[in-house]
Symmetry: C2
Subunit: 326 residues, 2 copies
């Protein structure tokens, strides 16, 4: 990654003093599309405040909302490391100094693309500060590098929707090929994060290396059906297609009350229900906001009864991606 | 299948004396969509002439173009067996008599859905003869049953496009869920059938029961990309997506000169190249007719040089499916 020279003219006179950026949480896999699909939501999301300072280099000034779990050391923190990488590739790391406040509005290890949201917010912020020399497509490799630093895998199914907004398809990685998919207007997500720990690495390790071809055929029939349903805004087809026969059976084991939450969601009219990313957050996909509100309410009640604390979020698909806040 | 009662009123006064039907050959899998995708072509295809006779029952009068390989016994012949099944379910098998001429315009065991084309032609013919009491959707289960009788598997990736026309997706089998996909206007198929024997059963048995999850992810990323490309008429995306990393490496072994044919096709500008169904027919997907003509010509020359006889066909995607011929 680093040592790539990015040939962009930076107008030093136009660099901003500071910028404040929001980047959205994301639901990777979109239930049936393991490692290829994902979508962004309006809330939660992370925030980066970035300040230009005289002393060259990238430094973390403060982190809020991480319970002290993220490193303040700029070389170890993914956000600052990615920002620095971009400055190096632009050839201006010896000339520009920035300091970062990172405000996490969502829990770490929630399965909602927490690290992706922070990385994307940081990279979007430095790009905005510099006068947007890079397109989103050009920022993407730095976001993927951030995922590699944070999770040990250069997956793009969280960073792609976090950066591009909407629903994204990672067609392939060699080279990275991100396709924006259409977003049916009434598609909502009701997300519940049960406060239990499921580290991404462990969740991945549970998954078997080999799968039955006949199960894979079921899975890619559903993926193809979902893509088709999105293009046609066909909610019934979307609902018929959003089943995960391969990954959910394994990962659901790590999530308390998963099948009871699923029963509640489907009974209340969800188009589909499943795990967000590697969990433990779960997501109900609905047509319209009201059903998503009702489902998250009922699921939270159920978890409370079982003495499990939780957060809930209801959101349409965020089609914008990261944005500069005023 | 049989013993289902199909509740349709047949107007005996309006039954036709005879009908002649064409049903198209099909390219199953569409290179990357094993067992779920397929499309119909304008040529080749099979023809059924059906005559109403006084004596109840279904009989085969003649078969042309099969080199004597298909049974004339009406109980053993797939076409007549499916027609009979439909008459039984309609409750009129004791009242109606039909005789069938089957004219095969394409080789058996070619990987072009030969049995599907015949079955679909037969079922479309009896439906037309009876005044079209069934919709295409209602005819579909009888077509699938025909595949089960002919191949031992009730796959629908040939019968679905043969009956519905265009490009079809089998989203799932339980229940059968067939989605028609959009057909980009300039999409052409250049098909070459090298005259070597690759029975479907053997071709299936070669395929491994288990696959690597990481390969399956590559495959379903490509499938999702292809579906997206079809909806957007994005030929570049279609081309990037149409790769089969799972099935082709195994099946290609059975097809002489496969990789040399592939090299020729891609060199001449094919969007993609691969195996049609279980082979040995191969197909070049192209933008426009001229490229497909050139590719099939060059591939046939190459095969001739290697003393392999072949047939070639160039066709746009057949969006109509079966039709009554005048």
């Amino acid at each position: 990654m680093s040592k790539n020279k990015v040939d962009k003219k930076i107008d030093f006179a136009k660099i901003l003093d500071n910028v404040r950026v929001f980047a959205p949480a994301t639901v990777a896999n979109m239930i049936c599309g393991f490692d290829i699909l994902g979508f962004a939501v309006d809330k939660p999301g992370d925030e980066v405040k970035m300040y230009r300072v005289d002393e060259p280099g990238v430094r973390i000034r403060s982190i809020e909302g991480d319970d002290g779990r993220l490193p303040l050391d700029a070389d170890k923190n993914t956000v600052s490391a990615c920002v620095k990488l971009l400055l190096v590739d632009l050839g201006i790391d010896k000339e520009i100094g920035v300091e970062i406040d990172l405000i996490k509005h969502m829990p770490i290890g929630s399965g909602l693309g927490s690290s992706s949201a922070s990385t994307v917010a940081g990279l979007f912020a430095i790009n905005a500060l510099l006068g947007n020399p890079l397109t989103k497509e050009e920022l993407m490799p730095y976001c993927v590098e951030g995922e590699r630093l944070a999770c040990g895998h250069g997956h793009a199914d969280n960073v792609a929707p976090a950066l591009m907004g909407g629903i994204t398809l990672i067609r392939g990685y060699d080279p990275l090929d991100v396709i924006k998919l259409p977003v049916p207007e009434d598609l909502y997500a009701g997300i519940v994060f049960p406060q239990v720990d499921v580290p991404t690495r462990d969740a991945r390790q549970l998954i078997k290396e080999k799968v039955l071809l006949k199960d894979a055929v079921v899975q890619w029939g559903n993926i193809a059906g979902l893509i088709s349903g999105l293009y046609q805004s066909d909610y019934a087809l979307i609902s018929r297609s959003m089943h995960d026969v391969l990954i959910e059976p394994t990962r659901a084991i790590l999530i308390p009350e998963f099948y009871e939450m699923k029963r509640i969601a489907l009974e209340e009219g969800a188009l589909s229900f499943g795990i967000s990313g590697s969990g433990p957050s779960v997501v109900a996909i609905t047509k319209g906001q009201a059903i998503a509100e009702r489902i998250t309410e009922k699921i939270q009640q159920h978890l409370t009864k079982n003495e499990i604390d939780s957060f809930k979020y209801v959101s349409s698909v965020n089609v914008e991606g990261p944005k500069v806040l005023l």
